[in-house]
Symmetry: C2
Subunit: 312 residues, 2 copies
């Protein structure tokens, strides 16, 4: 298998390479692709120094799977080129996620053996879907009301540097991620709402989302109130979450993990799981995950692993 990573020098690109280092099916050194600006950057891969190359129209000629994480515009330009060259593209940008012909995949939820372009969902959406899917199977999800608290690593290296240079009194929470939309939301909120519906195959799901950027280095948190068709049972909910691959759950209503605690881990951790005193069909919960791993690189590499498996 010949793998290319486009956007290899970014936070997600580097995390993809770390994940690929651990994959037994990676039997050739990956091709590292970047913009012209970042070409020449050297990155270690299994103790070998690889050099990033500037992407061009011929970059994908020998590639089986191309992992893209270089922004929507780059994806729009190079994904069709890579597919034409015979590669499967797993795209971490939002460019194709809502395209009805493109699968939007979380391997534990809606695995695919598709070729062509496969979209990797939004970071917050992935961890929220991972927490809601087992509960949906148990109780039938009707509504999810979500407040996200997203770390600066989700905004890239520059945002991390900005946080590093802030004085303690400048730390703040900004309830605005992305661009404004006509319905009053921002694009990040719209992604959570609509990607969740697509991934869970629940086009009518009632979802609200307020997305905030928080002064946390890495790891996203989400406070969720979920309303179901059926009366919930806390023990059944804990069991459903615990049985779901990739999800961990705190047994006690008071226990939880934090974003920083799950950093560098692949797990989606559900905590503070409680009955809602206002509605016997509702649950409250706290969900954290490493947005660079399960929220991006790990999920993309898991999709790649399923493609490899389905082709072998």
């Amino acid at each position: 298998m010949k793998i290319a990573v486009l956007g290899a020098s970014g936070l997600v690109g580097r995390a993809m390479l770390s994940q690929l280092e651990q994959c037994c099916w990676v039997d050739e050194l990956p091709l590292l692709l970047t913009s012209n600006r970042s070409a020449g950057t050297k990155i270690d891969f299994n103790n070998q120094e690889l050099v990033c190359h500037a992407v061009n129209e011929d970059s994908f000629d020998d590639i089986d799977i191309a992992l893209f994480s270089a922004g929507g515009d780059v994806s729009k330009k190079y994904a069709p080129i890579a597919v034409n060259a015979g590669a499967v593209v797993i795209d971490n940008s939002s460019a194709f996620r809502m395209d009805s012909t493109v699968p939007l995949v979380i391997p534990e939820i809606n695995p695919t053996a598709s070729k062509g372009i496969i979209a990797n969902p939004n970071c917050s959406t992935i961890q929220i879907a991972m927490a809601l899917m087992p509960l949906h199977k148990e109780f039938g999800l009707l509504e999810a009301h979500i407040t996200t608290m997203q770390s600066v690593s989700g905004a890239g290296l520059a945002a991390q540097q900005e946080l590093e240079n802030k004085s303690v009194t400048e730390l703040d929470i900004i309830p605005k991620i992305g661009a404004p939309l006509s319905d009053g939301s921002f694009t990040e909120e719209d992604k959570v709402v609509n990607e969740l519906r697509k991934i869970m195959s629940l086009p009518e799901l009632g979802v609200t989302c307020l997305a905030t950027r928080v002064p946390v280095w890495n790891g996203h948190s989400a406070a969720i109130r979920a309303v179901f068709a059926n009366e919930v049972d806390r023990e059944k909910a804990v069991k459903a979450l615990a049985m779901f691959p990739g999800v961990g759950v705190a047994k006690s209503e008071h226990d939880f993990k934090t974003a920083t605690e799950v950093t560098s881990k692949g797990e989606v951790a559900v905590g503070r799981l409680r009955l809602d005193s206002t509605n016997k069909n509702a649950l409250l919960m706290w969900v954290v995950a490493d947005n660079l791993l399960k929220g991006a690189a790990l999920n993309a590499v898991q999709i790649a692993g399923q493609i490899v498996e389905s082709g072998s």
Copy 2:
């Protein structure tokens, strides 16, 4: 009027003194009271250096109004003593808030001319009630689902010092404030739920709350989804908030203030006010305030001002 401030050297105590400096009805220097440990601390009041005295059973003999912010145990011990000595006690601790004989007061919502002990509500509760009350009057509040993001100043000077000493990768969000309760909540969440019901005179109000501590120096934020008896109208909601004393509201659905932006200001700022696409009777919003001011010291001094006015 002779005023005493018990807990004068703490964050809230000092903020109370700053507020009292601006009150025309304060015509004598206040008496500054602390624990034995903090006695001797010097604090400026209108450019005069005042010295903190250790509180004792005779401290309140000449006092008209005593502002308490020294923790629940201190309040339980000294509030009855101060009342017996003829003072009105305005208590910022949680000791008496849910006592049915004690008014729990936000002057803009439920003013009082009561004597004896008056309780100052929880910091988050105040800003949430200030945002919900005008909307309740307009549409009839049925439910409020709240996620708070509370700054470290709410946990006192030691917590601020702890934040100051953290490295950037240690910043984290902790969904746990206070002590665990048998219903799965923590005390801070219980305060928001039950104090809101008492202040708004809505004992049956459906409230859920997840309270988190965030790495922010000062100023609390709250994400609220509110469900009403009647269909909501965004223009009416904005108008009702704008007309309510002490509340500011952003005109656009995309606009907002942050916790840091309202620090040192008396305002409760409502932003990101949006219709809820899942329910025509619901609104989403973002509410920030300075937890040391409207969330504590300012509200307490406003109560004191109403007592003075009602007695004159």
